[in-house]
Amino acid sequence: MKITNLETIPGKTIIKHLGLVQGSSVRAKHAGRDLLSSIKNLFGGELTSYTELLQESREEAMQRMIQQAEAANANAILNVRFSTSSITQGAAEIYVYGTAVVLE
């Protein structure tokens, strides 16, 4: 499965468009990690636990998107976009979408 955020892959022709595929994931940290982060929040700097949380969550969303594309027998996903929105305190939704295509 080729995944790219370009609109075309040079040298490859798109045989078939299979439409939009997407994956999303909403995650939150448990209260203990959240408390630690709010203490760190006083002094500034990186909140490593949140960086990791969002990274894991993004990987999960991508896995879901790839599964959907595989189910549609695609061999590439083009023009992939990420979108993040904070729902409540300490929880974020990651949404990833792209166009599933069949390349020759």
Binding site: K2, I3, T4, N5, L6, E7, I9, P10, G11, S38, K40, N41, L42, F43, G44, G45, E46, L47, T48, Y50, T51, L54, Q55, R58, V80, R81, F82, S83, T84, S85, S86, T88, Q89, G90, A92
Partner: protein, 157 residues
């Protein structure tokens, strides 16, 4: 009476500590950003969409970071919000977060021996939004398509 003055001392103490620790960490972070930016200068990251001619392998790369401002800067920002004008404490926060995210993306790309990163996009979100006093953490994601020289045609397929 003594309870109130204790509270005041507590807040001032917290502000002073947050100021020292916060500005020290910001300075350290900027030093490390500038050092790594210099090292990764050889790998261009652009937001053009058209890849150059030739046979390349494509791969999506990304880097993300969550950074918060310290208590003192949040206090300053609240004052700024009241009087209007530039909120410098948040400007540096976003600047640091964007540069750090781009650097992490470039580091991933350079591990894969990429020659170029195309179509770079940023995605920003505030994490503690809606929590009143806690506003001041942002997550920035930078992503793009890394181009690697294709080793041989069989492998690319």
């Amino acid at each position: 009476m003594s309870g109130e003055s204790f509270q005041l001392i507590y807040i001032i103490g917290l502000l002073v500590i947050a100021y020292w620790v916060g500005s020290y960490r910001e300075k350290r972070h900027y030093q490390s950003i500038i050092k790594r930016e210099y090292e990764l200068n050889r790998l261009p990251a652009v937001n053009l969409k058209t890849p150059p001619e030739g046979n390349f392998q494509h791969e999506l790369v990304m880097g993300n970071v969550t950074i918060s401002v310290d208590y003192f800067k949040r206090f300053l920002a609240a004052l700024h919000a009241f009087f209007g004008g530039r909120v410098t404490s948040y400007e540096t926060l976003l600047d640091r977060a964007r540069r750090e995210a781009l650097l992490r993306m470039k580091a991933v790309a350079s591990e894969k021996q990429a020659l170029l990163v195309l179509n770079v996009k940023y995605e920003t979100v505030s994490i503690f939004k809606g929590a009143g006093k806690n506003i001041g953490s942002v997550e920035v994601l930078a992503y793009g398509t890394a181009l690697m020289a294709a080793r041989n045609n069989a492998q690319v397929s």
